[in-house]
């Protein structure tokens, strides 16, 4: 029985991944494919690692012991995801130390939503429910990634993200069924996060022009992901009596969502290191990397 061979020239390889073929670490791959994979996977790992910081700030301020435990577990999960994801990128040839150095120097990016501050427990609920919901849409699309080791770890990651969404939804439900003030905190947080959430899946570049789609690293286009998010979550938001302050937001008869153009300049500005919390959070990461250097030194010397 002949094993399916991954083609060893760029054009045939492209056709192979476009027709659903998957690639393993030890297979031949074009340099451009490897470079795009590393860039994409590294940014995903960075986002998991940076994404815990806004939530970490709330562990000590969680309203009940049960919430504190759930939030701690979520933070632990996300750091675990960063470890799994960095491992995949590492196997493609970029050392972890280099990825962490590039993160801290600002050379590598992380997702826009993790550059913003949190003000109240309402933000924690909105992050855990809606930011995670937006993220899981992208991550589910990665289950079909042409790079098989990445697709495989995504199974575990999606499984854990599903807990996080439930946790977030439970936080939101507790608040919207609470006092007027609690309801107000959720509405205010939603107003703060809606802009970044609409930017989250990126500009509506046609998927045929998106190199990440071309190589089948992603299995869906940006706009497709955003439509899926709107379709799944706008009804869930509105049924709680919360409001979305976008006058253009509506679902057309053909099922397509219309909305005001997200602020793409803000997205670009934020992810290139100019978000309201970017520098503070990177400095925090750097502080801990420096402080714990001795641990890595000992482990490596063991």
């Amino acid at each position: 029985m002949a094993a399916v061979e991954v083609p060893r020239n760029e054009q045939a390889f492209l056709e192979y991944v476009q027709s659903g073929g998957q690639v393993e670490t030890t297979d031949w791959m074009p340099d451009d494919y490897r470079a795009k994979l590393i860039k994409f996977i590294e940014m995903h790992g960075n986002s998991e690692l940076m994404g815990v910081l806004p939530e970490r700030e709330w562990i000590l301020r969680a309203p009940t012991l049960q919430r504190k435990l759930a939030l701690t577990a979520k933070v632990q999960d996300e750091v675990g995801h960063a470890q799994l994801i960095y491992r995949v990128a590492e196997d493609l040839g970029k050392p972890r130390e280099q990825m962490l150095a590039d993160l801290i120097s600002g050379k590598a990016k992380f997702h826009n939503v993790f550059h913003y501050p949190t003000y109240t427990w309402g933000d924690v609920g909105v992050i855990a429910w809606l930011v995670d919901a937006a993220a899981i849409i992208s991550q589910k699309a990665l289950l079909k990634c042409s790079y098989a080791p990445y697709a495989r770890i995504m199974k575990k990651i999606c499984w854990e993200e599903s807990f996080h969404i439930l946790h977030g939804r439970d936080v939101i439900l507790a608040m919207v069924t609470g006092t007027e003030e609690q309801f107000g905190l959720v509405q205010e947080a939603l107003d703060r996060w809606w802009g970044p959430l609409m930017q989250f899946h990126g500009n509506p570049i046609p998927k045929g022009e998106d190199p990440m789609y071309l190589w089948r690293i992603k299995s869906q286009g940006n706009e497709e992901a955003r439509q899926q998010f709107l379709d799944g979550y706008v009804p869930q938001i509105l049924e709680l009596g919360l409001e979305l302050h976008d006058p253009k937001l509506r679902k057309r008869d053909d099922g397509v969502w219309e909305y005001s153009e997200p602020d793409w300049d803000e997205l670009k500005h934020v992810v290139t290191g100019h978000g309201p919390k970017t520098q503070e959070r990177l400095a925090f990461r750097k502080h801990f990397l420096d402080q714990e250097q001795w641990v890595r030194d000992i482990v490596l010397a063991a």
């Binding site: 029985m1 002949a2 491992r87 495989r152 575990k156 482990v299 063991a302």
Partner: protein, 95 residues
């Protein structure tokens, strides 16, 4: 630092499945990372750790002797079954 491949068993009675890999300076650290990354939420009942260099990859998949009779796709019964049914007068629509 060396790579260790991690295999996990989800439930008793199921086969071990490749889960991913960890890098660690020795077996004890590899075990600690694997427990943390693949067993923390009780999603595995057993883990195997294998040093990557210990894996022997079987590369030669030559099919010199046409062994397809060992596989289901080695038998094309459709056409012959049709012929047999027609002969016996039991083909669908014959009744």
């Amino acid at each position: 630092m060396n790579e260790w491949e991690v295999f996990r068993r989800e439930r008793k009675g199921q086969p071990f499945e490749h889960a991913g890999s960890v890098v660690a300076p020795d077996a004890d650290f590899a075990e600690a990372w694997a427990r943390e990354q693949y067993g923390r939420r009780g999603e595995s009942v057993a883990l195997w750790l294998v040093p990557r260099e210990a894996i022997r990859d079987v590369e030669d998949w030559a099919d010199e002797f046409d062994l397809k009779y060992r596989r289901v796709d080695g038998y094309s019964i459709k056409a012959r079954l049709k012929e047999a049914r027609e002969r016996a007068g039991t083909a669908p629509g014959d009744s």
